[in-house]
Each structure stands twice: as C-alpha cells, then as structure tokens.
Symmetry: C2
Subunit: 619 residues, 2 copies
C-alpha cells in the first residue's frame, strides 16, 4: 500500500472501532484509535500470516497485550477478510466470538487471552522462545502493548528475559497514548523514560515521535525486522481517541463508546471497505523432535528404600523419562530446579529446558507461550511461589492453555524453613481455576504415573509434591487414573473413613494401625486426585461408615476437606465431616514437629477418630 | 568503630552465622557471609535504631529482603545486644523466635516477613512512602536485597515507584554475590548491568567493586544518606561464603550449613564477642492527623433509589467518610480508582491517597508498609487483579499485617467485559489466607457498615464489591456484625434454605417470591460474612429445612458453598447441600444474560429448589 492507502486503512480501523463500540454500547474505541495506524501498517506491510491457516507453523504471531483494544483487533480482522462487517457488529454480544477482551478459545487467530494487563508481552516472550529454541522457525512475534501496562513488574520480567535470551524475533510496539484508565500515566508522552528502561534491559529501541505517521511506522518496523541479536521495542507517541476532535487526547473517555458516533465517523471520513492483503507466511520445515515413544517411567518396589522416596524426586525422574519418550515435552523452572528436581530433566534434555530465574510470572507466561505452539510444558517451583503467578494461571485457563504445573515443598512438612516457603494455599488456588486438574501424590510410583498422565489432559494441571521422603506404598505397575483414589484400609466394620493425600497418607495409615489395636477399624482413602474427586469411592465410604475425617497439609479452606464435599453436593445425604488442616501459623521446627503442631499427624488423627466414634455412639 | 574493628565485626557476624546454622543443622550461612561486611558497617555507623523501642517513630527501618540470610540478621541482633548467644543457637528450632525466615509476628525488630524473594524492596517502598507522606519523619529505610531476586518483576515495580516518588529516604543495598540457589545468576558480578537498570528507573547508583571493603562501604552509605531527590541503590560485589576458602564463591553450597564448621570458624579467626552501639534515633514529633472522630457513614433508604446503588459506590463513599472520621485511614488503588470508586476518598483526602498505577504487587506491598507504621490501609482494584498479588497477600498474613483489601467488579455480573475482568476465584484465594476476614455485601448500607467495621479487625480483610446497581434492602441503621448473616425470608414451613451473598441475594429473593407463589416456602440467608460464617444461623436453617442451596457468583471451589460447610465440620449432622456457582467459561453478554447463563439467577435457583423439594418427598 502507498502512504495514502495506509492512512486510509488507519482511518477505516478507527471508523470500524467506533462502529463496533457503538453497536455494543460499550468497549474501548479511544484506546483503539491511538493504535490504528500502528496496526494498519503492521497488517499491510510486515505481518506474515495466513488467516485461513492460523496453525501454519510459519505464521508470525500477533499478541494484543493491551487486550481492551479489541475494537481495533476485530476491525483489523475485518480488513484482512477474516470476519465480515456483520460479525464485527456483534461485538460484546451474547454468543458472539468477538468478546470484550480476546480469547483463543473463541477466535483461532488470537494467541492468548489478554485483558489482565502486562501479560501479553511475557507470553509473547514465551512464543518467541519457542520459535528460537524449539520450533527453529523464523516467525516473528509482534506484541502491541499499552503504556499503562508498563507499570506491571511482569513487563520487566519479560524485558529481562527477552534481552538476556537475545530474542530478535520479538518486536514490542508500545502505543504511548499518555492516558490510562483513570488519567495520565506516570511518564505521559516522555518516550525517553521508556527508552532508557528498555535499553537498560538490552533491547533495541526505536522512538517514533509521531505514532500516526505511517511512513515513519513503516521504517520503524523495517528497522525492527532487520535488527539482530536483540529484541526491539518501538515506542510510538500517539493520541488516545486520535482523529476525532471531541475525543483526541482527552481524559475521562477510557472504555466508553463515543458520544456522537455518527459525527465522529463523518469526521474520520466515513465508512470504508478497504481490504488488506496480509503477506503469506514462509514455508517451514518441521524440525520438532519426536522422542523414542517408549515411556520407561522410573520404578520403585514397595517399601523400598527403607527411608522412602521424596515425591519431588519421583517428579524429576519421571519428567526426565517422559522427555525421552516424548519430544514435545519441555520443562521450565524458577531457579530452584535443584529443589524441585526439574534439574533431572535439564540434565537429560537441556535443549528443551528453560531456566526462568526467580520470575514466576514470566515462567508461567513462557509455559503458556510454548503451549500455544503445541508443546507440553511442565513449569515448576515451590508451591508457595506459584501464588506469585496466580493471575497468569487464571488467564491461562481463559486461554484454554494446556500447561502442567508442579509445586514442590508443599505444606508444613518442609520443616525448618518456615511459613514463607510452605505452600498452604495452593490447593485452594488451583482448585478454583476453571477446568483445572489437581493431583497430590503420596508416593514415588504414584507420582511418576501422574506426571505421565498430566501430559494428555487438557487445561491447567497441577501436581503438588513434597520435600521429604515418603514410604513407597504402591508397586510400580499400579494404575492411578485421574479422578480416582485408592482405598488403603477397608473392612466391613469400619467406623469412619480417613481421607488423606500426600504426606498425610502415611499419617493416616499409622493412625489406622493405632486405632485397629484399640478395636476401632477405620477406612483409609488416598485421595491423590483432588480435582476431580472420586465421587463413587467417597460415597461408598460415606454409606459404609457415616463419617469422613479429612486430613491435609493445607489451610482448612479450599483444599481436600472442601474437595470431598464435591462428592455430595447433588442433594443426596451428606455424611458427617470433620476436617483436620493447618489452622495455626507455623514457625520453624522439624517436619515431624510441624505435623504434630498442626494437628495432622497420626496421633492427631487417632485422637479425632476416637472422639468421632464416641460421638456416634453417644446419641 | 575504626577499620580494624569493622573488619572484626564482619568476621564475627560470619562466625555467628556459621555457628547458628551449624546448631540448627540447616539454614543459609553462605548467603549471610557475603553480606556480613555490609551489615556490620550499617549497624556500626549508619543505622539509627533503638532496639529497646522498636516502635520508636524516629527509628530507621531495616528490611531483610533476602529473607533467607537470617543467620546474618540474628548475628547482627546479637552484636547489637538485642538477643544473647544462647538464643542465637536456638535458630530454626521449635518454639524459637529465630525462624528460618524472619517474621515480625515473632521478632519486634523485623519490619516484614520475607523469604518470598522480591518483596522486601516493595514493602520498603511502602514504609518510605509512609515516612515521606504520612509520618513526615526523617527515618531512613534500608533494604538488603539479594542479586537473584532482582529477576522478580516486583523489584522493578518498586524501582519505578520509588524513583517516581523521589524516595531519598530509601536505600537499597544489593549483595551481588553472583550465585543464586541453583547456580550463577543471569548477570553474575556484572554490576554495570544492574546499575544501568536502576539508573533507568531514576535511582542514584553507587557501585562497590569490593563489597567487603569496610571503608568503601562506609563511604557508599554516607553518599547514600546525603543523596537527595532520589532513592539510592548500592551495588556491592561480594563473594558468597566469603572468608572460608572451602565455601567462598563456590556453587552448590546454597542453603546448607558449612561442612566443617569448626575449621571454618577457626579460619574466620574464631568466636568473638564484639558489641556494636547502634546510633539512637532522633526525637520525632507526632504529626499524624487525628480525624474528626464522628463517623458519618453515607445513608440510603430501603428501596431507594429505584434502580439501586452499586456496592462499589457505597464502598467509595463510606471510605471517604471513614477517612474524615479517622486520620489513620489511607487508601491505595491500582489506577482504577474511577472504577473501584476509591477516587471518592482521593478527592476528599488526597494527602492520604496513593496512586499505585497498574502494579498490584507494589500496591499490596505499599499497604503492608504503611500498615507497619500504624496506618490502616485500604487497597482496591478489580477482584480479578488481586490475583496478581496473591503471594504478597499470603506473606502479609505471615507478617500479621493489618491490611484492608477491596476487590470490585466481582463475578460474571460485570457483564460485557468478559472473563479476564471477572473476579471468580477471589473468595477461594482470600478464604485460604490464614486469619483472613472475607466480606461480600449485597447492598449499599451493608457495604458502608462493613467498610467501617474492617478498620478495627486484625489481619487481612477482604471486601468484595460489585459493578452494577443492587437494590437497597436494608435501612441505614441496621447492624452487620462480622461473622453474622441476615435471614431475609423465613417461616415455620420452609422447605429449604437458599444461602446467597452479594449479587445473588436479589436473585434468591426473587426466586423465593416465585416459589412462594407455587406453595414452596423457602428461607433466604444473606451470608455477607463469608469468613467467619454464621454457624448458628446456618445450623438452625439446616435443622429447620434439612437442605441448603448455596448460590454464588464465583467458581464452585472455595467460595460460599465451601464456606457454608464450615458450620458443619465438627462431626455433627450435615444437611443436604447443593451449590449453584459459575461452572462455565463466560463470554461477553449483559449482566442479566451472564447470571442466567451461569445458572445463578432467580430462575435457576427456583428450578433447583423445585427439584430438591421433590427429591425430599420422593423417598
């Protein structure tokens, strides 16, 4: 397109943004109008993308980090012929694919759900990493950022990661329109302020003093494309609401349709129907590793070795084995791979291992990015520190992203390090994620099988592992279906059922032994699948024993105790329920002292069981 | 102290770090040894602190951001005479105040719990903000950071905030020892890499090529103290495990006691017992505002105005009124104050309002920082975006920090903006926080009363508010005790109980009206206090009606449905339970369409109630 056509295309994107928001009665036209020329030039001249084949491996990737600018995104889709005008005007309506903020669940051209600011760039870093290190393809990742979102720390985790990894296939375009939601941003139109920051993080920086000058934009993109060894950021000074005198560069108009849409459209030169021919992507050779296909999980014999095996060790070994069998498995860790045991994978498959340093948000974002490219990521850190990235996990579920997460060092059972290192809220956090799977193994063989099973599930999958050794309770050929459980003690005379998982399984078994000697037989269930739960087994236990005693190394809220209730919320009778969980603020102490102090050790279980059995007799 | 004495003091801190870790059998001596000289010079010459009066308003504040370096911290406490040698050797033992990572809950000189990296600096920013803008006192905030933690985005949120606010009372000291937990950091000993970054964020930077040269450290601190208009960062090149040939600058020794502690102590020159006289803090005038004391909450009459009032509006108005009555109330927001309505407070009390821009981690950290100085912070953003700061909320609970949080725009009821903006996991997240209070009002007067009540609670307090208007159900003089509930419909013939909160209360009442006309009387409970729950009322409802139907604008896990179970987990009989919650992935739609699609509107409640009543008759 020539200059005049590019200008016209930009105006068309503005007009269509105004029209879409007017039809919806809501949305963000002014945030779209500032970036219209940036997107027009990108789609017309630089993006290489086949809208008919969003899964084309040579496609560039366009990430809308400022996810509220959907009127612009969808107007660009229309200009590219991907959607028609009638669909554009369904924006934000029930059943429309064109949501207020974009999600790949509904639109195949969207790389990631955005709308929680500061996430598009880190996820773009993940896709760019996949391009460089996994796909070995030359696609570029274009990320359109807002200026407000540069206040998010996750942006600087991404900047650090991209600069350090020399991601010259990554181009961030910042729409510096000076105005956030509430008012002016910190740095207004001071491009230099942003330039200093990105340069410090080893980015190539292009400042565009007029982000509406289509020729200057064109040159900036060409410069970015030809830059090697560094990611590029284009800082474009723009005007929010550009092109309409009543809205341009004015406060108080964020997230609102234009008051006089018809007049604004006229001022913008009226409705157009330009089509943009987006460049075809280059052909790409598939260089993906395939793996040997024959999964040989690590094996342990029951009761062996004497001191047991830490489930984190089993995780690391199983993941390394899975990586051998499957070429699509990758691992990421937040600089604690020696603790989570992700280092076992790193040693065997360094080319598919990503050290994310202590930047959990970037780690999850990188996982989402590589998952988008069809890889199966396992991201690990301490369970406690996954809380750092909860918003990223939440957004991953909105993307429908298939990511496997591992939180190690769960619970008070870690011992001396104290509460800052203890994952005690992770089950609650992960259970509440839509479509998630939550697994909490108690022994090495169970862990290994679940690590392998996770790879084939959908959505967010979470595996909770433990620091200390646990006895090997199961043989290496036992199966552990997701959604299942194991009944470890059972008799026709069981007086109640103890439901445990992870470190509390051994405690529950010890308690059962104590109680049996006292003439109180109890059932013990290993609820390794916390979500989904094994309704049938829990309901049978309820019917047989009338009372469930849950015991968990987690806060009382949102964990195993609450999960068990899932089996009984269809209106059928509910058994008596008692929950043992961590109700105190732990300090430093040995693992055994911690379990005792929290009231979740064998002794505490036995004491509660006795009381409950007495209660049941009493009335 | 002269040079020789400072060197000796540094060696003593090393020796005591080695001894403490040896006695514990765990801990982080090598991470302590790198920073020993930095702390020795700080305590001997620059810190102004009265250990006998940790609440002295003139005290400088020392924040150990690298929270694992507790052997060093406690060794410094010993050198300052705050603890004795016998207590030092209780490190990491059951019942000791000297935990693996420090917490103010146990030690009065600790400003904040640390151990989740990247939090000390942002919380230090919060304390420095309090010094500048609230306390109007000249204390300095010294933050000792590790180099690994500079990978955390939260560090750069803090750097941005501190630079922008010209916090020259803030001094960050970075112990650049080159080695993280797993191995080398990204930038190793490249001080310039860090210097570029901090300079870009408008900090004064001092590079210390030898972070063990006590005279050079002394000069660096003097330069920092005399710097005005900017925060200062001192980048000190150090050696991990410094002073012991076997450990110095070596990988693989993170978080482990020294193998040969006795030999190491000998190499370090043996045990010493130097005392350091920390400078007294200056006298400080108390300039805190007092407020007029007469709380005049906003008032609405029942059923007025016709379209109702949004609870977010009531939040903003009540907070502004509370700020008038109480001089110790401050407000913070993440650049969405026009949406959360925190702007109502900002307009009336600009001197106590903190705009944190889109940096939720820094916002919570600032709240924790000002709370440490005795202020009562209310931090607000969309409920969805509080997930961004979950690790900070978790750590605040470990600190015992008294912070009030408000999450607006909760649930699918926001309508068109779609799932990225919908808080659907916030109740689960906040309920799992130890010692938290979780409140979810349904009308304006209830909101106002709860906003006021929050100020006097302990720990983390969370208020969930809604975007759209809700009917005014209660009069302005009604009381809403925390831990209570309201029975809105009740009769002796109630066939079941609907438990609702927030936006579903109106739906529950509408359903009750429908059902009554069908001859099915149902009880309706407004469970505005989600944690703690009103056990007595729920148990009475269970006894009277036999079945509870919970309905919530939240995921099924961890929210109101699970909270209700809290009333029945002491082993007593449990009623039948059915949970209506958001089980789908919402798209864009109107609020009413959203409630219907999620199955939590009046019609859905009525349909479920009919089924349950039939079931109860059937057998």
């Amino acid at each position: 397109m020539n200059t005049g056509e590019l200008v016209e295309l930009g105006q068309q994107l503005r007009v269509d943004s105004v029209r879409a928001a007017a039809a919806a009665g809501s949305g963000h036209p002014t945030s779209s109008m500032s970036a219209a020329d940036l997107v027009a030039v990108l789609f017309a001249h630089h993006l290489r993308y086949d809208f008919a084949r969003p899964d084309h491996p040579g496609n560039d990737r366009f990430v809308l980090s400022k996810g509220h600018a959907t009127p612009l995104l969808y107007s660009a889709y229309k200009a590219a012929g991907a959607i028609d005008d009638a669909e554009l005007l369904t924006f934000r309506k029930l059943g429309s694919r064109l949501e207020g903020h974009p999600t790949p669940q509904r639109l195949p051209w969207v790389e990631t759900a955005s709308g929680s600011l500061g996430q598009g760039l880190p996820i773009g870093v993940g896709i760019a990493l996949a391009g460089k290190r996994l796909d070995h393809a030359d696609y570029r990742v274009w990320v359109l950022c807002g200026d407000s979102e540069l206040a998010e720390g996750s942006i600087w985790e991404a900047a650090e990661h991209a600069g350090y990894e020399h991601l010259d296939n990554l181009i961030a375009v910042v729409d510096v329109n000076r105005l956030g939601q509430r008012g002016p941003t910190r740095h207004g139109h001071d491009l230099d302020a942003y330039a200093r920051r990105f340069k410090a993080f080893d980015w190539h920086v292009v400042e565009l003093d007029d982000g509406h000058d289509v020729d200057a934009i064109d040159r900036a993109y060409a410069e970015a494309v030809s830059t090697t060894g560094q990611p590029t950021v284009i800082l474009a000074r723009t005007l929010k609401g550009k092109g309409v005198a009543d809205t341009q560069d004015r406060e108080g108009l964020h997230g609102k349709p234009l008051k006089n849409a018809d007049e604004a459209i006229e001022e913008l030169g009226g409705v157009r129907d330009l089509r943009v021919r987006v460049h075809e992507p280059p052909a790409v050779r598939d260089l993906r590793p395939v793996g040997d296909g024959g999964l040989e999980l690590p094996r342990w014999e029951k009761g062996d070795p004497e001191k047991g095996v830490a489930t984190r060790d089993a995780f690391g070994q199983a993941l390394a084995a899975l990586g051998t069998a499957r070429g699509d498995v990758v691992a990421l860790d937040g600089e604690v791979g020696d603790s989570t045991r992700a280092e076992f994978f790193a040693k065997e498959h360094p080319e598919r291992y990503f050290e994310c340093y202590i930047a959990e948000q970037q780690m999850i974002a990188a996982a989402v990015g590589v998952a988008r490219r069809g890889w199966v990521p396992y991201a690990s850190t301490f369970a406690a520190f996954l809380t750092r990235a909860y918003d990223f996990v939440r957004m991953a579920s909105i993307s429908g992203s298939g990511i496997c997460l591992n939180g190690s060092h769960a619970g008070v059972a870690i011992g001396q390090d104290g509460p800052s290192q203890m994952g005690l809220e992770d089950l609650a956090m992960m259970r509440a994620v839509h479509g998630s799977t939550v697994l909490y193994p108690c022994d090495a063989n169970q862990t290994a099988h679940l690590v392998a099973a996770m790879a084939d599930l959908e959505g967010v999958r979470y595996l909770r592992t433990s620091r200390g050794e646990s006895p090997v309770l199961y043989g290496p050929d036992e199966e552990f279906p997701v959604g299942g459980s194991k009944v470890l003690r059972s008799s026709a005379e069981d007086r109640l059922t103890v439901v445990a998982a992870g470190v509390t399984v051994a405690e529950a078994l010890a308690a059962a032994d104590i109680l049996r000697q006292e003439g109180i037989p109890v059932r013990v269930i290993d609820l390794y699948s916390v979500k989904p739960v094994d309704r049938a087994t829990l309901r049978q236990a309820a019917a047989d024993t009338g009372c469930l005693l849950t015991v968990e190394d987690h806060r009382p809220e949102g964990g195993i105790g609450d999960a068990v209730l899932d089996a009984f919320t269809d209106g059928s009778p509910v058994p008596r329920l008692v929950r043992l969980a961590v109700r105190t603020m732990p300090g430093s102490a040995t693992p055994a002292e911690q379990l005792h102090a929290a009231g979740i050790d064998a002794e505490s279980i036995a004491a509660s069981a006795r009381l409950l059995v007495e209660q049941a007799i009493a009335p």
